[in-house]
């Protein structure tokens, strides 16, 4: 098992290198860079820059050097100083920017994830064991609703309704009166009130999908011979259900942890935009729009790295849970 983890981790190194190259390339690909974007902006607002000044800007930010040099400089910063570079747009380091936004992002994403698991897994199990019952149809109906309604639409409609009914605007993280206040009990409660809506929206969306996955997996497993064998031993139905088919049907859910990890980091871009939440999602969007290359590149790279690490975590978890995977891995070694 330890050898398996070590082997998989070593295999990550070339993949990570490739990811960093691709992230950098994506940023470099579109024509123009941050400086030309700035010069255009200044021109558009009527300020004419002379050639010298433009060149000075280019030199200052190192855009006169070849791309591979900029890449090496960037990577050196990340690897040795954990410094992801400078955001031109915000005038801050990328580390600072992410540090400001990550806590909120993580709180929203992780609690939405927990909410959706707590709701979806029991419902999925119930739906599968009571297939075509009235409740199954009701859950299926709402599951599909949750799955198909775009989150940004739900966010807009619900935010408007809540404002209409209660005069409370569930936008941003704090109400205006608390915006510049120091943290207090009232401000904290105000924040929680603002968090309820995004949690429900993001959570419901994941819940719909997870109910379908859980129900489908479990239905497949319930028909399997080993379930009948266990029943033929006289095992109590509840014990049987959780010991055998539910455990088996969790495998595909566990294998999706690899995609959940980057999702936690980026947050729901659209929901955050609509509800004005300062998570990392809108940050990435604005960075890409403005060709704020180090910020955008860093976020893209962190997301990719998290995907790779998440996949590794999934594989390790699966190997721990499923002896067949464990043994085939040992055989491959």
């Amino acid at each position: 098992m330890v050898a398996y983890i070590v082997r998989r981790s070593v295999m990550l190194i070339p993949i990570l290198l490739l990811i960093s190259l691709v992230s950098f390339a994506i940023i470099e690909l579109p024509p123009g860079d941050w400086v030309t974007y700035q010069i255009e902006n200044l021109r558009a607002s009527g300020i004419e820059l002379n050639e010298d000044e433009a060149e000075r800007l280019v030199k200052m930010y190192g855009f006169d050097q070849p791309a591979w040099k900029r890449y090496v400089r960037w990577m050196r910063g990340i690897l040795f100083k954990f410094n992801f570079g400078w955001s031109f747009q915000w005038g801050k380091t990328v580390n600072e920017l992410l540090g400001e936004r990550l806590p909120l992002t993580l709180v929203i994403s992780i609690s939405a994830l927990i909410v959706s698991w707590i709701i979806a897994i029991p419902i999925g199990i119930y739906s599968a064991t009571h297939q075509y019952s009235v409740l199954d149809y009701i859950f299926t109906f709402f599951g599909f609703l949750g799955l198909t309604i775009p989150t940004f639409l739900l966010a807009m409609v619900l935010a408007w309704y809540i404002f209409k009914l209660t005069e409370f605007a569930p936008l941003g993280l704090f109400s205006i009166e608390y915006m510049d206040e120091p943290m207090s009990m009232e401000k904290f409660i105000d924040m929680l009130k603002h968090l309820v809506l995004p949690l429900i929206i993001i959570g419901l969306n994941g819940t719909g999908a997870l109910i379908r996955v859980m129900r489908g997996n479990l239905l497949d497993e319930l028909k399997k011979q080993y379930v009948i064998t266990a029943r033929a031993k006289g095992v109590n139905e509840m014990q049987l259900l959780f010991k055998y088919p539910v455990r088996m049907s969790m495998n595909p859910v566990i294998s999706t942890i690899g995609w959940i990890l980057p999702g936690i980091f980026s947050g729901e871009v659209l929901v955050s935009l609509v509800l004005g939440l300062q998570t990392t999602g809108p940050l990435l969007l604005r960075a890409v729009l403005a060709q704020d290359m180090f910020l955008a590149g860093s976020i893209v790279m962190i997301l990719s790295v998290l995907t790779v690490i998440g996949t590794l975590l999934s594989d390790i978890l699966l190997a721990a849970l499923d002896p067949r995977i464990r043994y085939s891995a040992a055989a491959a070694r």
Binding site: Q225, I228, T229, R231, K233, G234, V235, M248, P323, R324
Partner: protein, 353 residues
């Protein structure tokens, strides 16, 4: 089970009727099936796919999926031994299949071996865990430690090499034959009075099949256990069964002791079956397949369900009303008009009495 001798009545199934209510229609999987099972003896059930042989056995176990299946009629009386040495009778058909009482019978009084050794065990749990589970459920005062010891003993008894290591093996680490042996160990783990074997060797190759059959018979002699052996393989049933029941579309067509039914089959369907298998010791003969196909399972038959394929059918009789169950000889029943008193038998070459 001290004072219960060989040949004592263990299980009586009477007029069992199980239908499946599917979206496409009703499948009359089992229609009026009756049989007895005696301690220490083997009842073979022969039939093609869809004949209702497995559903009959699953009904005894109480593991027919319901819905869509429903037991409409019939009794399944089990004469079980009580701890004080007496015999009590329970009608399994009336028990809640998920209730405590039925669960005590299932895996305790009655063990079952299935067709697919590859999928019969959960791949996530060790063989020992899954066999031990049955022991912990049914053997009073057992502990995980004693269950493990008993499991190792059982694995040794069914001929698995190095049982003390096999107990911790996962199912995928065992070969098909070994897995079926482990399956037998599981079915026998609580000394059942009745073992139901539902095509236990169908998925195995012929040499392994012979070993498994031999093992089952050995264990039967040791434990004085009754066996219901289900198969579509006539030769296998002929080798293991004391009495044989031939089923077709949910009906028992013929029922007699093994020797009689193979030597002097009465029902045209049984005779057709016998003609469709090669004989090793006899002269070379042309094999005669049964013409036609098994009818659509949703079809409802006014007369005999075998009418369309029967070579000895009597038009206007067999297709008009359901054939009666007759007993032309002591202990030999057949569901066919050919043996009714008012039908001339001589022209059909049958040996009635």
């Amino acid at each position: 089970m001290s004072d219960t001798g060989r040949g004592d009545l263990l299980l009586e199934v009477r007029n069992l009727q199980v239908h499946f209510y599917l979206f496409e229609g009703v499948v009359q999987a089992v229609n009026d099936v009756s049989f007895d099972v005696h301690r220490g003896r083997t009842l073979g059930i022969i039939g093609e796919s869809g004949s209702g042989k497995s559903v009959s056995a699953q009904s005894v176990m109480g593991i027919v999926p319901s819905p869509p299946a429903k037991q409409l009629a019939g009794e399944i009386r089990l004469h079980r031994a009580t701890p004080d040495g007496g015999i009590e009778t329970v009608d399994l058909g009336r028990l809640d299949p998920r209730g405590q009482e039925y669960r005590d019978v299932r895996g305790g009084e009655i063990g079952m071996i299935f067709q697919e050794p590859m999928t019969s065990f959960s791949p996530l749990h060790t063989v020992g865990d899954q066999i031990g589970e049955a022991i912990l459920l049914h053997i009073p005062d057992s502990t995980p430690q004693s269950a493990r010891e008993r499991t190792v003993d059982l694995l040794r008894r069914v001929g698995i090499p190095r049982p003390d290591r096999a107990v911790d093996a996962y199912p995928h680490e065992l070969s098909g034959g070994m897995r079926q042996r482990a399956m037998i160990a599981m079915a026998l783990s609580c000394d059942p009075a009745l073992l139901i074997a539902d095509e236990p060797t169908t998925a195995l190759d012929v040499t392994i099949e012979a070993q498994i059959l031999e093992l089952i018979q050995e264990l039967q002699d040791d434990l004085n256990m009754a066996i219901i052996y289900i198969s579509h393989d006539l030769a296998v049933v002929g080798g293991v069964a004391d009495e044989v029941m031939v089923m077709y579309l949910g009906l028992v067509m013929e029922h007699a002791d093994a020797e009689t039914i193979f030597d002097e089959p009465l029902h045209p369907y049984t005779r057709a079956l016998w003609q469709s298998i090669p004989k090793i010791d006899g002269p070379l003969e042309q094999l005669v397949p049964i013409s036609g196909n098994i009818p659509n399972p949703f079809a409802v038959h006014k007369g005999c369900p075998f009418y369309a394929r029967c070579t000895e059918r009597i038009q206007g009789v067999c297709d008009e009303s359901p054939p009666p169950v007759l007993e032309p000889r002591q202990g030999h029943t057949v569901r066919c008009f050919l043996y009714a008193d008012d039908v001339d038998l001589a022209s059909n070459g049958a040996t009635g009495d």
